[in-house]
Amino acid sequence: MNTLPDYKNIMVHLTYSKSLRKGTMTEKRIIYLDHAATTPVKPAVLDAMRPYFTDHFGNPSSIYSIARESKKAIETARAQVAKALGAAPDEIYFTSGGSESDNWAIKGIAFANRKKGNHIITSAIEHHAVLHTCQFLEKEGFSVTYLPVDSSGLVDPQELEKAITDKTILISIMYANNEIGTIEPVAELGAIAKKHKIYFHTDAVQAIGNVPIDVKTQNIDLLSLSAHKFYGPKGCGALYIRKGVKIDNLIHGGGQENRRRAGTENIAGIVGLGTAIELATADIGGHNARIAVLRDRLLKGILDTIPNSRLNGHPEKRLPGNLNISFEFIEGESMLLWLDDEGICGSTGSACTSGSLEPSHVMLAIGLPHEIAHGSLRLTLGDANTEQDVDRVLDVLPKVVAKLRDMSPLYHKSGKEGGCNVQ
């Protein structure tokens, strides 16, 4: 299998690639279009992290000077995260990543406020870290409303307001969807929560670095984020908790993170997160405009050259790098395998990659028929992608789709062969 021997513009990977080439790795150029899954660590981020593995390894809870260095680094990172969100540093708590942050926000609010009520509102298209946490709480006696979304993936603020009862203690709606890229009207949803004095949590794992965020003006009480989605390291995230929010701890133990999240700090990870979020939010308009132009070029190219293809998600209210397209008559995994063979990394909402036979809950929630959901392809662009990458996909993808359609019994049944039926 290929790794990332030729991941352009990422100096670290170029360095690694030299050593890989000495071995048995192929030199095939990789076009990485799965940035919603994870991103490579930026060289500046790795440089910032490196001293904290070796030189400044001290436990921040200790008294000696190398420990003070660790402590200082954590507080710098906390300030960087706070600035990126429009929060105060003492409202930022470091965690092991997006899943922990979601679990903490939802379980922490639920258990701390259960005397007030037992009702939670979320949406049908949340990440499993939110959905499965809510399902767990249902077994613990909570009741959960899963708001439907429209065909573009948007939650209707009026539906949210209607779902509120006097028992509602938490509303958790994601900032932007990981599969179809739809950006929810977070400020409006947050305002409704505020009006009814209900805590509002948003899973912003996909949004950081892609959309400007301000927790105060957007009425957000809790926000989850994860470093590896914006060119930071894996295994490190944060939860913003507005001052005054009543929340239980999730991880019990030592007094770290102002006695709210136990466990010796992942210092290098935290430093990486801080540097990465600063870089990701510094020129948020500029780099996203560039990515969106590439994305739109890719979209137009695909829709123009491949018949019976359609865009999933909202045409405008979507993450700049996200493209999700369904191709009729074919299945997503076989598309991915062929694309991988050409060095192109993407993902699908088809069942076949998820470990079940059901297609993704997001695809079904936006009303796609099962067979169309099975034929979805997600390509998510990032900082290193170029026009050449887009052109290469536009060269390869129509052939892949034609090849698979040619062997699909559905294609002939439909009588829509057109000029695409290449032998």
Partner: protein, 144 residues
């Protein structure tokens, strides 16, 4: 996650296509579950002289169709009927557990094509040993 053999049969599938005026056709699966196989056979003197397929599905579904058609070609109908999903999976050097249903689909596709031939010949259809594990009726339920 796939064996080299699966990837070989996925990337270079044998016997893709349709047979004009086939002696038997078997279609199994459901688009709702993300896989459909259509198997075509030509039969001469009780022997399957040609087999082709069209498949909508994942890598394992395409590789299983390819391997199953390879395995039944040149066999008598009795021998072909005994080609089990396990035999298909073994010939592919294994399938991930979640993908075993693809080999079941291939076995059922072959069986359906054989019975289609027998029906056309006015012969009684043979009985499935493990019927309808994937061939759904009105309301499909996707199961492994």
């Amino acid at each position: 996650m796939y064996s080299d053999k699966v990837m070989d049969h996925f990337k270079n599938p044998r016997n893709v296509g349709e047979i004009e005026n086939p002696d038997g056709v078997g279609e199994v699966g459901n688009p709702v579950c993300g896989d459909i196989m259509k198997i075509f056979i030509t039969v001469k003197d009780n022997i399957i002289t040609d087999a082709k397929f069209k498949t909508f599905g994942c890598g394992a579904a395409i590789a299983s169709s390819s391997m199953a058609t390879e395995l039944v070609k040149g066999k008598t109908l009795e021998e072909a009927w005994e080609v089990s999903n396990k035999a298909v999976a073994e010939a592919l050097e294994g399938l991930p557990p979640i993908k075993m249903h693809c080999s079941v689909l291939a076995e059922e596709g072959i069986h359906k094509a054989i019975n289609d031939y027998r029906k056309k010949q006015g012969l009684p259809e043979w009985e499935e040993k493990h019927p309808h594990s994937h061939d759904h009726g009105e309301e499909p339920v996707c199961e492994h």
